[in-house]
Structure formats: C-alpha cells, structure tokens
C-alpha cells in the first residue's frame, strides 16, 4: 500500500485554549500506482491532508504510513520525504536556482547523490516533463505551466514513488493546466508513480482512477469519478460543483427531458442529445 492513514486527526492550535480540527479521524488506503483526485472546498482539510503525507505535518492522533513507514518515526522521515514529492500552488515560489538544470539538481545534490548520477537524473527528469531543451535557460521568464513542470522535474529528480500536486494547476491558464495534467498522467501510466492531485476543477478529477471528496475534515465521498458525480445534490450542498456537462444533463432532466443516467463529459452529452433531437 502506497499510503495508509489510520484514524488520523490533525489539529491546528490557535492558542492555548483554542484548537481547530482540520482533519478528523480519517482512515484511508491508496494503492501503489493509483491516480487519485482529491477535491473539497476551501477549508475542507485537503491541503492539511497533503502535508500529512510527507511529514510536513505530523498527526495529532492516529498514524500516517508511506509504504509501511510511519511519519511519526524520526528514523524514517528522510525515506518518506524521498518517496513523497510535493508540488505546490504558486509556480513563482518554488524556484531556487537561476538556471533550470541547477534548479532540478538541487534535490539530488542535497541527498548526496553522485555527480554523474545527478546529471543523468536531471536529464531524465527534464525530458519527462518535456523541458530538456530549456536546461540552460532561466526559469524566471517562463510561463506558469512551464514553471510548474519544472517544479515537477525538481521533485522527480529525487525519484519519488508518490507525487502530490497540491492545487498545482490552480494558478495556471487553461494551456498550462493541461500541460501539467498531461505530465502527471504520463508519469502515472508510464512510470507507475502514484499521483495525488488536489484540485478545484471537477473536469480534472474526471480523468482520475479514484476521486476523494473532503468536507469539514472528513471524507464525504470516495469512489470512481462517475460514481461520485451521481451525488450532485450532496456535492452542491457541500459547496462543490459537478462537471458542466453533468449539470446540463441534470437541468434538462429536471425540465422533463429523459437524459438517462451518468453523463459526465461532452461526448456522452452530445451522444444522448443526438438520440433525442
């Protein structure tokens, strides 16, 4: 099992007498090689959950295990961080070097990897995200999508088994978003990397193997995206939306047109409309 959460609670201390439970008793297993989408409105606890996965936060109670190693074990935390790579929201906050290949080399350098191996890894990581031709350039003049792909390359150079994208597409334009998603799906399919993609965009969640919906520190829904989107009334109630096409089908259904069940994308919507019209 890539990730195991056993009754995990995390509380932020506001002061001595006030605490907010951001994650409330979550138990969860994620199999190696799965592409998981994690959604929830602001404040639902999803980013806290992400930070628990590589020991940036330690559970207040319960246990988080990555490939069997607990994040509470100080002897294992190094291994865990090597295995769980995280990419964050803001592309401008994650660059540390002025040249692309230096930036990617930063991780393995800090792990004491041999020079030749670093060169190999940098080349491999940059080609994985389609940025090899930019290796001698400076990251600061790049587009948001390129910067996020570079951030992913920096994480890949550490050779993680799990990639956590914490709203990494939120600040990008549509083109940048699809660039980043494409890279994430490729890494998942070709290299078997487990991907945990946190997002607000429901149509991004559609492509995942598994969709986990968080609300108020708990898991509200967990299943394939198709299964989860059937609960559209409940999803709206917890301030989330369903894909546009699903909403369209629901609106027509409510008006009295039989749209059938489970429309989640454009193709299915158009197919059904062609039958009807």
């Amino acid at each position: 099992m890539a990730v195991t959460l056993d009754n995990v609670t995390y509380s932020y201390n506001i002061d001595d007498s006030h605490r907010i439970d951001a994650v409330k008793g979550i138990s969860l297993n994620i199999k190696d090689g799965t592409f998981v989408a994690l959604v929830g409105h602001n404040g639902s606890g999803k980013s806290t959950l992400a930070k628990l996965l590589n020991g940036l936060l330690l559970p207040t109670s319960g246990e988080v295990k990555i490939f069997g190693n607990s994040t509470l074990d100080p002897n294992k935390i190094y291994d865990i961080r090597k295995n769980v790579g995280m990419v964050f929201q803001n592309p401008d906050n994650q660059m540390i070097a002025s040249i692309v290949e230096d930036d990617v080399a930063f991780g393995p350098e800090n792990l004491g990897v041999e020079r030749d191996e670093i060169i190999n890894r940098v080349e491999w990581a940059l080609s994985k995200v389609g940025m090899l031709e930019y290796r001698k350039r400076t990251p600061f003049k790049m587009s948001g999508g390129q910067k996020q792909r570079l951030a992913i390359a920096g994480v890949l150079a550490i050779k993680p088994k799990i990639l956590v994208l914490d709203e990494s597409t939120a600040m990008l334009d549509p083109r940048g978003r699809s660039e980043v998603l494409e890279v994430a799906h490729e890494l998942n399919k070709q290299d078997g990397i487990t991907v945990i993609h946190i997002t607000h965009f429901m149509e991004e969640a559609l492509e995942a193997d598994r969709l986990i919906v968080m609300h108020d520190g708990r898991i509200a829904f967990d299943g394939t995206p198709r299964e989860v989107f059937k609960n559209y009334e409940e999803l709206k109630a917890i301030k989330l939306a369903v894909p546009w096409e699903t909403q369209m089908a629901i609106s027509l259904q409510k008006a009295g047109i039989d749209m059938g069940d489970g429309i989640v994308n454009e193709e299915e919507l158009v197919d059904r409309l062609c039958q009807l019209l």
Binding site: H41, N42, A170, D173, S251, G256
Partner: protein, 364 residues
C-alpha cells in the same frame, strides 16, 4: 465615450536582448456601460493593455484618453494620476496578497483616504463598500484581514477598490484560485457591482464560460494585437480561429458545434448554458410534439443569484461571517499571536477616524 485608445504600442526591455513586443498598434473605444470581457492566452498583451488604462504604464507610442485625461508619451503637460485612478479602479490578480493593514476597515479606507476625502466621507464609503461586497460591516471591520477565508479576503480587497467609487472597474482574473462556490460568489458580486457601483466593468479571465455569463462585448488579444472585438453573441462564429489561437470556447458552443457536425443544427448565437437549454427544449418539443416550457431549464450550479439582498439567505450562503466570539477578545488574540504586547492591542480604526475628525473640528 469613456476610454479611447489610439495607435498604442508597447515594448518591454527595448534595445536589450530581452526585447519583447507586448502591444502593437492597438485601437479601441470603451463606452460607458460596457461590460467588457478581455481574453487571450498568457503573453498576448492583455495585462500590459489594462495597465495603460489606469496609468500604471505610460504609453510609449500612441495615446490613451480616459474621460478627459489624456496620457501620451510626452512628459508635459503633467497628468493628474490620482484623479485618473479615482476614476479607474483596478483589482489585480490575487488581490488578497495586497492586503496590508491590521484591520479590514483600515485596509478598505486606504484608497479613499489617499483621494483626500474627509474622514466622514471615508468612513461612510468604507462601510458602504464592505457591505456592497456582501460582508457584515460590524462583524468584520475590526478583524485582521488574514483571519478571513480566501474568498472573504478577496472580497475585502475588492471593497478597497470600490470604496474609491471608480467609474470604470477593471478586474484581472477575479476568480483565479477560488473553489467553485467562491467563484460563484465573486461572479455574482461583479454583476451586482455593475448595477450598483461602477457602470463600466472590464474583466480579464481565462475562463470563457465565466466571461460569457456577463459580458456584452468581448475583445480577444492575440500576439500583441486585437484579433477580435465583437458583441458576445457574435464572437463564437470564429470558434475555429479562436481555438487555433489556443483559446477555449464556451462549453455550450462546443456542444452546438459537435451537434451540428452530427447533423443536428440548433442555430447560431448560442453561447451560454441558458441559451443551450432553451434551444434544446425547443428542438425537443418539435421532435416529440411535447409542450415543455422553454424556460423550464435552470442551470443552477448554486441557486442564489436572485437572493442577493435578504440577509437571512446571505447568512445561509456564508456571505456573512457569523461572530463566534466577542470581537475584543479576537483582536487581543491576534496581537498575542504576533508577539505584540497587550498595550499595543490593535485599536478599532473607527475611533481613530472619529478622533481625527474631532481634531479637525477643534482646529476649525
């Protein structure tokens, strides 16, 4: 005519190896009452363009006329930029990163104070602006901005601009990074501001489905030029060209185009979800001899568009923050968190405003 732009060109880092043309011979007239959407992929020039409209960038070539203020490459006559910025309000991307004061009230007051308004007028406008963005003035005025949620912070930042009561309001990616519910709230707020605050609104967005919810006119930037400038219903006749530019087209237009390719023509001028619902129901009625009301389809992601002003429903929708604890205790806590001593406890801004106006009266 509110804004007239003539032959505007702009080049970044001119005469260096990094030289890059951002705008080339832009001509555009923006009318009072326009609800203008600006689209274009990253680097197409749209941000450079709007920065010209409130004088953040001086024209290199060409001129920008905003109401009666003319910006030209010449140094003289000197332009009153303060006057310009009181007329054109700009809400940047991620405006919540620019909140800086220790209370919401002080932050919102910064703009109008700098316009040189009287303390009473400032206080009045601050209250009005905070209420206008759907926050409870009494509940939030003394709170630190960073205690609020992301969507609330963004609304405070917008309040800081509309407190200057600009005639033209520009918003750059106003919903970026928010969750779906937060997005809906901001979109509804923008519509509300159009009728209640700034008669001319310009919105830049990457999300075309968002733009089509309110714009009556769309300008497309591509490669430093204006590629299209059309009424919203007309623009998507150029769907193929827009897609070639790497731009999204509205989902309803995609569905209509797909249906047309498969022999079902729902007609032109369908842009929004509501348009599409109507057209489908109409066609369905014809095909099945049914009698469904064409307006029966409601595309309600969240059904609160009509409920703006009843306080009960606002509260229900989270537009008003419920007070959980006494305010005084809260501000005390903030001070403690940041290592401030108790005697430096954040004072409510209102008192300060009052005492200042008192001073003034005394002097008079």
């Amino acid at each position: 005519m509110s804004i007239v732009i003539k032959h505007l060109s702009f080049t970044y880092s001119a005469h260096t190896p990094y030289e890059r043309k951002a705008l080339e011979n832009i001509n555009l007239e923006i009318n009072e009452g326009d609800f203008l959407g600006i689209i274009g992929h990253t680097g197409s020039g749209k941000s450079t363009f709007i920065q010209h409209i409130n004088g953040l960038i001086k024209p290199q070539v060409g001129e920008v006329e905003i109401f009666d203020i003319k910006l030209t490459p010449e140094k003289k006559p000197k332009v009153n930029l303060r006057k310009l910025r009181s007329k054109v309000g700009m809400v940047f991307q991620y405006p919540e990163y620019q909140l800086f004061a220790d209370t919401v009230e002080k932050d919102v007051a910064f703009g109008p104070k700098n316009l040189g308004l009287s303390a009473d007028e400032v206080a009045k406008r601050v209250k009005q602006a905070i209420e206008m963005v759907g926050l409870d003035y009494e509940a939030v005025k003394d709170r630190a901005p960073f205690e609020l949620s992301g969507g609330q912070k963004r609304r405070v930042a917008i309040a800081g601009i509309i407190a200057m009561q600009p005639k033209v309001l520009i918003l750059d990616e106003p919903t970026a990074g928010l969750d779906p519910f937060g997005k809906e709230q901001i979109l509804n707020l923008i519509k509300y501001l159009k009728t209640h605050c700034s008669p001319t609104i310009i919105v830049i967005s990457h999300d075309i489905d968002e733009i089509t919810r309110f714009a009556n006119r769309i300008v497309v930037f591509n490669d430093s030029h204006i590629a299209y400038d059309e009424p919203m219903q007309q623009l998507f006749k150029h769907s193929r060209q827009l897609q070639k530019m790497g731009l999204d087209i509205p989902r309803a237009v995609k569905v209509v185009n797909n249906l047309r390719a498969r022999g079902v023509d729902l007609g032109e001028e369908i842009v929004t979800a509501e348009d599409l619902l109507k057209a489908i129901i109409k066609r369905y009625n014809e095909a099945h001899s049914t009698d469904i009301d064409e307006n029966a389809g409601i595309f309600d992601m969240y059904d609160f568009s009509q409920k703006w002003l009843t306080s009960e429903q606002r509260e229900e929708l989270g537009l008003i923050t419920r007070k959980e604890e006494p305010k005084d205790e809260k501000s005390h806590k903030v001070g403690k968190k940041f290592g401030l001593k108790n005697d430096k406890k954040i004072k409510p801004a209102k008192k300060e405003v009052e005492s200042k106006s008192k001073d003034k009266e005394d002097k008079e």
